[in-house]
């Protein structure tokens, strides 16, 4: 005890780093020791970002950190400081608008958070203080408080469960709000505590707060009568997380260990890193071009201005002001440059960012709304976690898919088993009493059965060796649960319509993995029914309808490294048995070798048929052996540090020298339409790589079943097996194989044309590549650096020339490594990862687009994904239809925006040549401001939300259409140049058309003349109409919204112009546009020139559209389907 105390004193600083000590009920422990209340944060949850006071500065700071906003702020400031042609209002107003809208939105969100925070913080909770119950606000809970929680309440902070109203010291919680798992989880009280918590004197030592929801290591010291304190180990099973709900338990008491922002829930708030789409990169590149144009325009104008001024300096009619005369020449040049920048700055519009954001934000709703993504089974549709990547869905080149749960349903069905080398298959119309039907036995043997004893042993093993809970729908309460190991798993809820046992018709099982349910149900078919676990006793109904009871001693949990799990039970007779089941590769080395060969044959055959195989082994433990194992286990579980490693070591030590009984084969059914989906995706030019932790044979068969490998596919294998052939060292062999495959797949293959039409499907020979985790790590981390890079390249080249690639036996991190490898390879292809389990999270986060399947393996994948869909088959529509459309929409949006601002600003630039480079704006300030906000923004927004240049059905039917937009096809420089040229052409037409008209400014039939503002207004009118009609020409899908917005915008422009020019505005310094528009309309010449110029501008466009159409192989096909009339649509509905 003294040592302990010393430890605490001296090791205090060090200890503070790793663990915290909590005094339960704030009592000094042991009682005689001085109690220093430790400092922890209170239980106030602050999820809000701002307070009333710091909202404005903080929010503005956040907003202006964005480069675009900052740029516009600079422009605005230049306008305020320098004497610029346009008033600060023209750029200030849009900026103000954008900033205000964003601020209001963020403020509102923050207000909601404040409200929610307040609700949480002011929530009344019961705290036990000195034996009395005190109600206080949740925010006031301090670490060490003993908190009482009643049924259906939410835990106010992270608690260690001390006392439960249930007899067995358990309580049930749901963690739906934390990880989305809706099953009830059992948590345990700390063993052997005083019943009256008032007298409990204990400390808890636990690790510092960390965000992992499923990890918790702690130790509780209980002091009784100043003896050496009792020590209890604490694990996640004792920890009740804030945010979880208490269920089926009247009330519990727990001591607060983590509060407020240190709770696991709060620590999990952190968002993910932002992914940026390829389109955004294109936008930035285009922006640079336009910035360059802007700067060069300003430079040209500034230079010319001074050249011009040297000739026409100051005329008598237009003298400089005193201030101008006094200004330093160079400073003046600089401010002139800035003025030109301001004048032309509209070429990079604020509104583009707003429109792009809006388009992405609103566009993503169409994914959520799509009823095709709705899965009736889970009653959920698609989920969009980020709207930044919508268009990236149309650009995918590589798909990395998980196998289990993604390609396959993760809905396991027990197919057959093999006991002692004899195969048992469940026949449908079995005549045999016990439901057994022996089909083809082991090869070369007459049909035979294994001994009955072995059979029963095997079935008992199946019944006992699992972590399944029975869910009885008749009873209100859930009775039992043997384990708390829902480690990153959800409920594999399987409802079984009992075959053999009518009384238990509706029997539900809840388990961490669906394999287990399949096995338990399989055993049930053969007459052994698992009834459940009651206070550490597992009950089995055997074939003779007798109930057998086994005392559950230990569960040696499953983990992906060991790839096996075991249970230790004590039978009625007192025998201690260990049952173990696991993957063949992990069981075979642990069992006596004589049985292995017979069973290996079965396992391998089953694996090639696409079944998941598990081997079952057992072992008798003598009393001494058990005692030792028991002690080791307990010790390991108490360890505060490296508990996992220590436990693993014990597990490995116990699970040796076992006797193999048999193997099971469970079928994992393919997802609906898995093969069709894969075919469509491959048809769309995407390469599908399967990354799985499963073994090669199983994975290979799944690949065949999905059509990823076809009959004529030549498989190139790079696995441990092929590496060990030939009797040379693996390194050498790897080198040889890589070269050989490279020769085959890359060098001998017909040269593949780079570009949109990738012709591997045409190229006669298909290759499939298979690699396993071990070989991959050899490839990736070869001993010498140059080798490693060379291998990597070879590997990539081979893979890129193969139709499909299968990577099996992958650790989660390796999956991410592969994704990264491909992502960073030449050409930076866009990658997509799809998976459903926690093991896929790393690759989902790594890939450009991460897709989570709302499968059975928990919510991690969904939470970390960018998009989540219920089924694999939805991927087809998500990519081929939504992705394609979003890409086309946003690409068009971007190009159009640059175009319309180029032809907006070009006349303004040209006008400088006619006004002595004096920065005179061509358009009125109102037009400058409104052009991007009101007159031309809505049609493009509507277009970018609603356009379907090819209708969805056709997109889904002809997956090759996806290839047309591959490699960012619509944002290539060529197209950008085309749009730029178009913008320049339009700008020239607008300006010079009106210029020639104004060679005689007497344009009215009463001989009166037009001035410069009329000039600008005519140009602007032509501009607005042309730009809008250009979009109308591009629109292939005219819904009423498009009609409304396009014609509405034009009408609004006309209406606004009348209105703006119709009144002497008291707040304006200049009444520039007073009746300019109306006068313009009274001139026939103005009408004629407007019509002429609009038509002339659109003429080449129309011509191109007409000439371009009959190109490409699909054109006719689409044309045949596309012209859908209203009538057709009505018929279809």
């Amino acid at each position: 005890m003294l040592r302990r105390r010393l430890n605490r004193l001296f090791g205090g600083d060090e200890g503070r780093v790793h663990s915290r000590t909590i005094y339960v009920g704030h009592k000094s422990c042991p009682p005689n020791e001085a109690y220093i209340p430790p400092k922890f944060c209170d239980n106030r949850i602050v999820s809000s970002k701002y307070t009333v006071w710091n909202f404005l500065p903080k929010n503005l700071f956040e907003q202006f950190r964005r480069i675009a906003n900052f740029y516009f702020l600079i422009i605005f400031l230049v306008q305020v400081i320098v004497d610029t042609p346009t008033s600060p209002v023209t750029s200030g107003l849009p900026l103000f608008f954008v900033i205000t809208v964003t601020a209001v939105k963020q403020g509102y969100e923050d207000w909601l958070r404040h409200k929610a925070d307040r609700e949480v913080n002011e929530y009344r909770v019961s705290v036990l203080e000195d034996g009395r119950r005190i109600r206080k606000m949740s925010a006031k809970i301090k670490v060490g408080d003993i908190v009482e929680v009643e049924e259906d309440e939410t835990f106010p902070c992270d608690l260690i469960l001390l006392q439960s109203s249930r007899d067995d010291g358990t309580c049930f919680v749901t963690t739906a709000s934390l990880d989305g798992e809706s099953n009830h989880k059992t948590h345990y009280t700390v063993a052997d505590l005083e019943s009256d918590l008032q007298y409990l004197s204990a400390t808890i030592e636990c690790e510092q707060p960390q965000p992992d929801l499923y990890k918790f290591v702690g130790r509780m010291h209980i002091y009784r009568n100043s003896q050496e304190p009792d020590v209890r180990s604490l694990g996640p099973e004792n920890l009740l997380l804030k945010g979880a709900n208490l269920k089926n338990t009247q009330k519990i008491c727990g001591v607060a260990v983590y509060t407020g922002m240190e709770t696991k829930m709060a620590l999990n708030y952190q968002g993910k890193s932002q992914k940026r789409s390829a389109v955004e990169k294109s936008i930035n590149a285009f922006l640079l071009v336009y910035l360059f144009i802007l700067v060069s325009k300003a430079l040209v104008c500034t230079t010319l201005k001074y050249v011009w001024q040297s000739k026409h300096d100051e005329t008598w009619y237009n003298e400089k002001t005193q201030k101008e005369k006094e200004t330093n020449q160079y400073l003046k040049m600089f401010t002139d440059f800035l003025s030109f920048m301001v004048l032309f700055n509209f070429i990079i519009p604020v509104s583009m960012y707003v429109t792009v954001e809006m388009q992405k934000f609103l566009g993503s709703f169409f994914i959520t709304w799509d009823k095709d993504f709705f899965d009736p089974e889970i009653q959920e549709g698609a989920l969009v976690n980020t709207s930044d990547l919508n268009e990236e869905l149309g650009q995918v080149e590589y798909i990395f898919t998980d196998k289990t749960g993604t390609l396959t349903q993760n809905n396991m069905e027990f197919i057959e088993c093999c006991i002692d080398g004899f195969q048992y298959k469940h026949g449908d119309g079995s005549s045999e009493l016990d439901g057994f039907c022996v089909t083809d036995g082991p090869v070369n043997k007459i049909q035979q059965k294994a001994g009955r004893e072995r059979e029963e042993l095997f079935l008992r093993a199946l019944c006992l060796c699992h972590t399944v809970q029975v869910k009885e729908s008749t009873k209100q309460r859930q009775d039992q649960n043997d384990q708390f190991d829902q480690i990153d798993q959800v409920d594999g809820l399987g409802l079984d319509h009992g075959f053999l046992d009518p009384p238990q018709k509706e029997m539900g099982f809840i388990a961490s993995s669906p394999d287990e349910i399949a096995l338990v149900k399989g055993a049930m078919r053969y007459g052994f029914t698992f009834l459940g676990l009651e206070s550490k006793n597992m009950k089995i109904l055997n074939r003779n309808k007798d109930v057998e009871t086994y005392e559950l001693l230990h569960v040696l949990n499953f983990d992906p490294v060991r790839r096996r799990m075991s249970v230790m039970v004590r039978s009625k007779t007192g025998d201690i048995l260990l049952f173990c089941k696991g993957a063949d590769s992990s069981i075979f080395p642990q069992v006596r070798q004589e049985e292995v060969e017979r069973i290996r044959m079965h396992v391998e055959r089953n694996a090639t048929e696409g079944y998941r195989t598990l081997c079952v082994a057992y072992k008798h433990l003598s009393a001494q052996e058990y005692a030792r194992a028991d002690a080791d286990l307990r010790e390991a579980r108490l360890a505060l540090q490296d508990r996992e490693e220590k436990l693993m070591a014990v597990y490995n030590r116990v699970e040796t020298d076992m006797i193999l009984i048999g193997a099971t084969a469970v079928e994992d059914q393919l997802q609906d339409e898995a093969a069709q989906t894969m075919e469509a995706l491959q048809g769309a030019g995407m390469k599908v790589w399967v990354l799985t932790g499963d073994k090669m044979e199983t994975a290979k068969s799944t690949c065949y079943a999905c059509g990823l490998f076809k009959k004529n596919t030549e498989l190139l294998e790079l696995t441990l097996r092929t590496l060990e052939d030939g009797g040379r060292s693996r390194e050498e062999r790897l080198h040889d194989l890589l070269l050989e495959y490279h020769k085959k797949a890359v060098q001998d293959a017909p040269p593949v044309k780079l570009g949109i039409t990738r012709s591997w499907s045409v190229a006669g020979h298909d290759y499939g590549f298979i690699i396993d985790g071990a070989s991959l790590s050899m490839v990736l981390s070869s001993s010498s650096e140059p080798n490693s890079r060379r291998y990597k390249n070879l590997f990539l080249q081979i893979c890129q020339n193969c139709t499909s690639v299968l990577c099996c036996r992958m650790a989660p991190l390796q999956k991410a490594q592969i994704v990264k490898l491909v992502k960073n390879s030449k050409g930076n292809p866009i990658t997509l990862s799809i998976g459903d389990g926690a093991n896929d999270v790393s690759m989902i986060l790594e890939a450009h687009v991460g897709i989570g399947i709302k499968g059975k393996e928990g919510r991690q994948a969904v939470k970390n994904s960018d998009y989540a869909i219920p089924k694999l088959k939805h991927l087809k529509k998500l990519l081929l239809a939504h992705g394609h459309l979003y890409y086309v929409r946003i690409a068009h949006l971007v190009q159009y925006f640059f175009y319309k601002n180029l032809c907006f600003i070009l006349p303004q630039f040209l006008y400088q040549f006619f006004c002595g480079y004096s920065q005179q704006p061509l358009y009125d300030a109102a037009y400058l401001t409104m052009y991007n906000i009101c007159f031309t923004s809505m049609p493009i927004l509507a277009y970018s939300l609603l356009e379907q240049h090819i209708c969805i059905e056709v997109l889904l039917e002809h997956s090759t259409l996806y290839r047309d937009i591959a490699k960012n096809a619509m944002l290539r420089w060529k197209l950008f140049l085309y749009w730029t040229a178009l913008g320049i052409f339009h700008g020239l037409v607008f300006f010079f058309g009106v210029r020639f008209l104004f060679s005689n400014p007497a344009l009215q039939d009463n001989g009166q003349v037009f001035g410069n503002w009329s000039y600008g207004t005519i140009v602007f009118t032509v501009l607005v109409f042309t730009v809008t009609l250009k979009l109308a020409l591009d629109t292939r899908h005219w819904t009423w919204i498009n009609h409304f917005v396009i014609w509405g915008s034009l009408a609004f422009y006309v209406f606004f112009s009348f209105f703006w020019g119709g009144i002497i505005w008291p707040f304006l310094k200049h009444q520039r546009l007073y009746f300019v528009f109306a006068n313009m309309l009274s001139s026939v010449s103005a009408w004629l020139v407007i019509i002429l110029l609009i038509l002339l501008s659109l003429l080449p466009e129309i011509l191109l559209v007409v000439l371009r159409k009959p190109r490409g192989p699909h054109a006719r096909q689409i044309a045949a389907v596309t012209p859908l009339s209203y009538k057709h649509l009505k018929e279809r509905e």
Binding site: S47, E109, A116, D117, E119, T154, N245, Y269, G271, K272, H312, T315, W316, Y317, N318, K320, T321, E324, F361, F365, F366, I367, T368, W369, D370, K371, F374, S387, C915, G916, S918, Q920, C951, G993, L997, S999, N1000, P1001, A1002, G1007, V1009, F1010, N1012, Y1015, L1033, R1036, W1038, W1040, I1064, K1069, H1070, Y1074, V1084, S1085, L1092, L1099, K1109, A1119, L1124, E1133
Partner: protein, 372 residues
Amino acid sequence: MMASSYKDEDGHITVSGSGAAAGGGGGSLRSKKPENTAFKQQRLPAWQPILTAGTVLPAFFIIGLMFIPIGIGLYVTSNNIKEFEVDYTGVEMSSPCFTCSQNFSWNSTKPCTCSVPFHLDQPYESNVFMYYGLSNFYQNHRRYVKSRDDSQLNGNEESLRKPSKECEPYAKSNNKPIAPCGAIANSMFNDSLELIYIDPNGTKVQIPLTATGIAWWTDKHVKFRNPGAENTNLTVVFQGTTRPVNWRRPVFQLDSDPDNNGFINEDFIVWMRTAALPTFRKLYRIIQRRSNVHPTLPRGNYTLEVVYNYPVRSFEGRKRMILSTISWMGGKNPFLGIAYVSVGSVCFLLGVLLLIIHHKYGNRNNAAEISH
């Protein structure tokens, strides 16, 4: 944007449903089946036009057939407009105004006059519009364009006393506010032009010129107002202000007609509407047609009597006097006619071209289908 809403959802769903509902981005956890509405399923009925040679061809032909006649009409109309221009800048030695242009001084009290003879080959039948034209005069220079105070011109008394800063350096003179202030007003065109017809028998007949109706109606009646609404005595109204430095007369002495004096003087209003290009014309006078029998301006010899006040040589400008008739399309400008005819012809030719292409493509299309 999304990151924050993501936070919302996970943060407070436990407290109330509002957390989830507030989360935008479509990222809701509601297990509701998406509504099957046409909009949400992107199935709104839509018109899906496809531009093919077939659909565009008629349009091309129609445009061609419409534009060519319009263009010809415009061209003919423009050609029928009679226009006569005389440059009286006086740059050349031979020019009658050479002396005036050479001896120009702002301070001279005696106006310099010169008369420019010219000959009209054709009689001008309808109303004739008399313009003055200036070249190389940058009325659209930014410093110039903004150098005005519309509020002052609108009759605002306060602005009259305190002209806007924009008017600098023509806002104040001798500590008195300038009315009208600004560079535009200051540089108002102040040559006076008169036309004299020389009868075949040698008598000189002065052509009557109308000085009203040359400015936009709305400018004259709304945008430009004299200060002191009802006070007709402009001298009193403009008390305390001074004339623009380059003016010879104060603003309230621009015309004897009270409806054309002060800020609402039409010559002034016309000048205040800044021109779009450095070479421009402005309406100066209208020569009304008097009788149906005689042409407004018969063919013959005329002299243009110029009171030469306006210096342009300093900036190499030119001054012109233009006589022009007006049609429904305004003044003479062949551009529109030519443009219409050429665009119309291009459309028509393209139509023909497309027809050929369409024909060929159609054939190829058929052939392809047969070969299948």
